[in-house]
C-alpha cells in the first residue's frame, strides 16, 4: 500500500509517495539521502537513529515514514547554518567527545531535544537524556561534559544580555 506523505524535514517541505512499511529512518536515508541518522540495532536500543519529531527525540527505526506525515522532523543535517555549527556540534569537537563517531549524530540530536525543552539541565538530566544512546568507544564522560558546556555558555549569555 502506498501513501502520499508530506512533512517538513530540516525546515523544507518534502512530499513523497512511500510504502506502508517504510520506516522514517529508511525514508531519511534512502529517499532524502540524509545519512546522518544511522541504523545501529534497528530495535530502539542504541539510539544511533535518533531524530527530533515535533521537537522530541525519537528512534527513527521505530517509526514509520507515514506516521511522520504532517510533522516537523529535524535531523543532524538541519542543525548547522552553512559553515556555522550548532553549539552542541562545536562543543563535541572542542571536548573531543567522539572517536568513531557512529553514535554521535544520535547523541547530538538527543542533546538538542534536551536543550530545547530544558536549556539549563543538571548533569543527571543530561545523563538521562542520552541514556538511550549507546557509545562503544568514547565513553560518556566527555559527551556529558560537552553538553554541559553548551548549557553553561547559553546560560551565561542569557545573564549577559539581561545585564
Amino acid at each position: 500500500m502506498l501513501h502520499n506523505i508530506e512533512m517538513t524535514v530540516n525546515g523544507e517541505l518534502v512530499k513523497a509517495k512511500v510504502p506502508s512499511h517504510m520506516r522514517l529512518l529508511d525514508f531519511l536515508r534512502e529517499e532524502l539521502d540524509l545519512i546522518g541518522a544511522k541504523e545501529g540495532c534497528g530495535k530502539g536500543e542504541c539510539g544511533a537513529c535518533t531524530v527530533l519529531v515535533e521537537g522530541k527525540a525519537v528512534n527513527s527505526c521505530l517509526m514509520l515514514a507515514v506516521e511522520a506525515s504532517g510533522k516537523e522532523v529535524l535531523t543532524v543535517e538541519g542543525l548547522s547554518e552553512g559553515d556555522s555549527l550548532d553549539p552542541i556540534q562545536q562543543s563535541i569537537i572542542d571536548n573531543s567527545a567522539l572517536q568513531c563517531g557512529y553514535c554521535t549524530p544520535g547523541m547530538v540530536m538527543s542533546a538538542k531535544g534536551l536543550l530545547l525543552r530544558n536549556p539549563s539541565p543538571t548533569r543527571d538530566e543530561v545523563v538521562e537524556a542520552i541514556s538511550g544512546n549507546l557509545c562503544r568507544c568514547t565513553g560518556y564522560a566527555r559527551v556529558v561534559d560537552a553538553i554541559m558546556q553548551v548549557a553553561a555558555s547559553s546560560k551565561s549569555q542569557d545573564e549577559g544580555s539581561e545585564g
Binding site: 530502539g44 525519537v58 528512534n59 538511550g132
Partner: protein, 288 residues
C-alpha cells in the same frame, strides 16, 4: 528493514473496530509501535495490516475532574504521563513507573495502552495501575466495556481483549484519602532494561497499604496476603511478614536477566524497602 504490510489510520472508534474485524487475525492495532516494530523487525511477528489508533478523538491526553478521578487516553505517550503535573502530584507512583520504561526516545513514542496490551509480566505501568485499582475502557465489536485491571491480564502476552477490541481509556478512581506511592524497579542497568523484579507500593491515609509486583509471575499481580498483614500493624515485624508473604506469592521464572531464586529474594528485599519508603513518604506529607 520491515517486511511489507498495509498501514491504515482509524478515524473513529467504530472505524478502528471495523478495520480490525476486516483485517482478521493478521491485523493488529498500532499505537507507539515500540514493542510491535521490534517484534516485526525480529521476524517474530508477520502482520498484514496495522491499524493506527492514534488519531481517534480522545485517545491521547488526560482529563482529571474532581470526584471523577483521572482518565488517560490509551495512546498517551509515557513521557506525557511523566510530564503531567496532576499525575506527578496525585498519582506519583504512576509517573515513576512510566519514567522507568526504556529510554527517553522510547518513552516519547511508547503508549500506556500499548504497555498494558502487550501484557508483558514486566510491564512497568501495570503494578502502578494495579495499586490504583484502574479500570480499562475498551471498544470492540460487542460495544464498550470497563475491565478492572486486576482481571485484564491472563498470561504472558495475553489479555481478555477479544479480536477487534482495543483499549480506549484508562480510568483511575479518585483516591479516597491522601496517599503516597513508591515504585521500585530492579534492572541490570538504570535505564533501557526490563525489570528483574518490580514492586509498587501505595500507602493510604486510611491505613490501607496496597502492593503489586511485576516480572515475578505470568502476569503482574497484587499481593493481597501481604496487604492484609499491614491493615492492623505497620511495625518492623509486620513489614517483614508482609515482605515474606510477597515472596511466598511470587512464582518467578529463570531467564536471561535473573534466576528464579534471586528474583524471589529480591521480591522480599524490594517489598520491604517499598513499604518502608511509602509509609515514610505518607507520614512526611501528613506533616505539611
Amino acid at each position: 528493514m520491515l517486511l511489507s504490510f498495509d498501514y491504515v489510520r482509524a478515524r473513529s472508534k467504530d472505524d478502528a473496530v471495523n478495520l480490525a474485524v476486516e483485517a482478521g487475525p493478521n491485523g493488529r492495532f498500532l499505537a507507539g509501535g515500540t514493542d510491535l516494530f521490534v517484534r516485526m523487525y525480529d521476524r517474530q511477528l508477520r502482520l498484514k495490516t496495522l491499524i493506527d489508533v492514534k488519531e481517534i478523538e480522545g485517545i491521547e491526553g488526560m482529563e482529571c475532574q474532581n470526584g471523577q478521578g483521572l482518565s488517560i487516553g490509551a495512546a498517551s505517550s509515557l513521557n506525557m504521563l511523566v510530564g503531567n503535573e496532576t499525575i506527578r502530584s496525585r498519582y506519583g507512583l504512576l509517573a515513576q513507573a512510566a519514567h522507568s520504561v526504556g529510554s527517553l526516545q522510547v518513552r516519547n513514542r511508547a503508549s500506556i495502552g500499548g504497555n498494558i496490551c502487550n501484557a508483558s509480566p514486566a510491564a512497568d505501568t501495570a503494578p502502578a495501575l494495579l495499586v490504583y485499582d484502574a479500570e480499562i475502557e475498551t471498544w470492540g465489536p460487542r460495544n464498550t466495556r470497563l475491565i478492572p485491571i486486576s482481571q485484564f491480564f491472563t498470561g504472558p502476552g495475553k489479555t481478555v481483549l477479544e479480536h477487534g477490541e482495543f483499549v480506549y481509556k484508562i480510568r483511575i478512581p479518585e483516591p479516597d484519602t491522601r496517599s503516597y506511592g513508591v515504585y521500585l524497579k530492579l534492572g541490570r542497568t538504570n535505564s533501557v532494561d526490563l525489570s528483574i523484579v518490580s514492586v509498587a507500593c501505595l500507602a493510604l491515609a486510611s491505613g490501607e497499604v496496597r502492593i503489586a509486583l511485576g516480572a515475578v509471575a505470568p502476569t503482574p499481580i497484587r499481593v493481597t496476603e501481604a496487604e492484609s498483614i499491614l491493615l492492623s500493624r505497620k511495625d518492623e515485624e509486620a513489614i517483614a511478614f508482609a515482605a515474606s508473604a510477597a515472596k511466598e506469592t511470587a512464582v518467578p521464572i529463570s531467564d536471561v536477566r535473573a534466576g528464579e531464586e534471586y528474583r524471589l529474594d529480591m521480591v522480599e528485599v524490594l517489598t520491604k524497602n517499598a513499604i518502608e519508603q511509602a509509609l515514610a513518604g505518607l507520614a512526611a506529607t501528613g506533616e505539611v
